[in-house]
Each structure stands twice: as C-alpha cells, then as structure tokens.
Symmetry: C2
Subunit: 106 residues, 2 copies
C-alpha cells in the first residue's frame, strides 16, 4: 500500500496535525503538518528520544535553547539529540509545511 | 547542522549510492540514490528488519515476490515488513531517484 505524504492534507489546520506513519520497537515515524504554527514562546520540547527530522514541503525555523536557529527548507534534514531543548519558532503561514520526523533511541 | 537530501548528489552513480543519515538502537536512516539501477533479476532483498521507504525525488518500481508491484513517485511511501522478499524492478534512467529508508525492528 502506498501513502503519498504530499497529498491527503487535512483541510482543518487550526492545530498542527500529527500522524503516525509507522511504529516499531522504540521508534516512531511521524508526519507533522504546520501552517503558520509555532511553539509558544519560552516553551521547549525536551524529548526522551532522539529526533531526526526533515522538511518535505514548505519552510520552517527551529530554535534551540542553546541559542542556535536552523532555517529548514525543502530537503533539509537535521538530528536533534534527546533532551536538546528546542521549539518551532516559525512556519510559513501561506503554505503547509510538511515535516517528516523519526523518533528513536540512540 | 543541516544536511539537504536533494543536494550533494555524488557525480559517480555507476553503482547505487547508500548513505547512512542517522543510526540508533536497531534503527538506521539511509539515503539511497539510484539512476537507472535495478536489482538483478530473480534476486530478492530478504531483510531482517522492517523497512519504511519513501521517494524524495524521481521514480521507481518495487516488485514483490508475492506478485505485487508498487510504482513509487515523489512523496510516495510504503512499509515493507521484515522478510517480505522484494526487489527494485526499475528506476528512472534520466534522473536521480532519491529514496529515504528507515530500517527498524517492529
């Protein structure tokens, strides 16, 4: 069975949409769709697992508590080690940003 | 650090190019670049792990020993359970096909 990740975009994007694509032993593959969403100010993701993430469509900015920002465009990927506090600072308001994320244990 | 998966394509594509993007406990994320490559006839991948795979660029056809074929275009993803014998039947000869594969334990 094929699932196209650039299609079947939910019409209601009031909230970010998280969808599990595959799940295994201590690993989850997720599609996340944002449209102008960002993490609330001073709110940080502090995850138990490593996260490898890429942008399939759109454009977003990740901010790290340590100070760095990463501007992520189509095809860009990065790895966020467990407990590396970060947030989504900005996503494109006029187009869906489609993230692919893999959560795993290092 | 950002790595763009649609860029830094090796110039020598005599053989398919496999590149590990991230690795954890029983999980590997890999970029595979094909250009007209296919698995030899009657040769099947028979993998110990599940594989979730998608096409980031290009076009390929997966064939399963059980008889099914999956034509995979940009954005298409599928999940191949462990020991599901399959091969790459065809990839676009005129353009690089970029696959993203996650190998994991179910």
């Amino acid at each position: 069975m094929i699932k196209n990740l650039l299609q079947s975009i939910p019409t209601d994007l009031t909230e970010e949409v998280f969808e599990t694509l595959a799940m295994g032993a201590n690993i989850k593959i997720e599609r996340i769709i944002s449209k102008g969403h960002s993490t609330p100010e001073n709110d940080w993701y502090d995850q138990e697992q490593d996260e490898w993430v890429m942008v399939l469509q759109g454009h977003g900015i990740l901010e790290f508590e340590a100070g760095k920002e990463l501007e992520m465009k189509v095809g860009d990927s990065t790895n966020i080690p467990a407990h590396t506090r970060h947030r989504v600072k900005w996503t494109e308001p006029n187009e869906e940003t489609i993230w692919l994320a893999v959560f795993y244990n290092s």
